[in-house]
Symmetry: C2
DNA sequence: GCCATCAATGATATTGATTATCAATTATAT
DNA sequence: ATATAATTGATAATCAATATCATTGATGGC
């Protein structure tokens, strides 16, 4: 099993791009965090390690990571794109609390299968999908009561 | 069964807001179209009937229609919000072609039920959800081959 | 090493959809 | 009529994301 590092470097070589200290450091920082993270949040962390890094570079490296199959964009509909690990992180959907934002990753194989069938019943070949479940977590329900 | 007009006016009264020619005209124009429409597209149509209308007003009336339960926001992930009819237009999800953008409204009652169960299994009470299925329609598949 | 080529960086400017601001206008209530 | 409050259109501001660009740095052939 290849490491994420190796995959990233292989992708750079394939695209005739170069490995640089900035790219390495941003990749490392992203991999260390497990949560869904915004470009801005990642930039803030990276800046502490190396204040000379520009935020344009963070945006660029995030795009590279997505292309390399290491990161995935997640859109919770609040106007900011988030990024999560993709490699060794099989497909899943998200259940988000409308009260506090607490997020759970979920996967239901029956739903996944039905999505494919629904698409086919309209003559479409399903390539991908997004599903966001919104609700109230237990804590937030108790707070309301 | 109340008309959409009546619902809109009832909502305005409830909020101590006023009916105006601009609001009436923008509402009519929105109701006449059946497709998912952007604020910009709606503004373009409205402008032809009355060039003095500002686009800020279109944004404002769209927001009112959403609040009144007459319109629903739809986000296909391309950075522009679309709006669709909500009243007498029961809940549905969307199947969008990655090739040409052709969109079909879909509803699968089993999926809807499972979504509720998944949320409950994590202690969440489901309030709403978004599901976007992306694929290739028949036409676009043939074009590729 | 030297030179030519091409990628990478960081600062800055720009974009584009949406919101906020504000002065002027219009409706409503007393 | 007068005070109050809502509405409008124009314009400015926001904000994430992208584009631009001059500078720096790496690479490869010689
Ligand atoms: Zn919560
Ligand atoms: Zn996730
Ligand atoms: Zn198509
Ligand atoms: Zn629809």
């Amino acid at each position: 099993m290849k490491s994420e590092r190796e995959i990233f470097e292989a992708y750079l070589i394939k695209r005739h791009l170069r490995g640089t200290p900035q790219r390495g450091m941003i990749l490392d920082t992203f991999l260390k965090r497990e949560e869904h993270i915004t470009a801005e949040q990642l930039y803030d962390i990276v800046k502490k390690r190396d204040p000379s890094i520009g935020q344009a570079t963070v945006y660029r490296v995030l795009k590279l990571m997505v292309e390399a199959g290491l990161a995935r964009e997640v859109d919770f509909g609040d106007g900011v794109m988030r990024y999560e690990h993709c490699y060794n992180h099989p497909h899943h959907d998200h259940l988000v609390c409308r009260g506090c934002g607490k997020t759970v990753e979920v996967l239901d194989s029956v739903i996944e299968e039905l999505q494919k069938r629904v698409a086919e019943s309209f003559g479409y070949e399903l390539t991908d999908h997004e599903m966001y479940l919104y609700g109230l977590c237990q804590t937030c329900r108790k707070k309301k009561a």
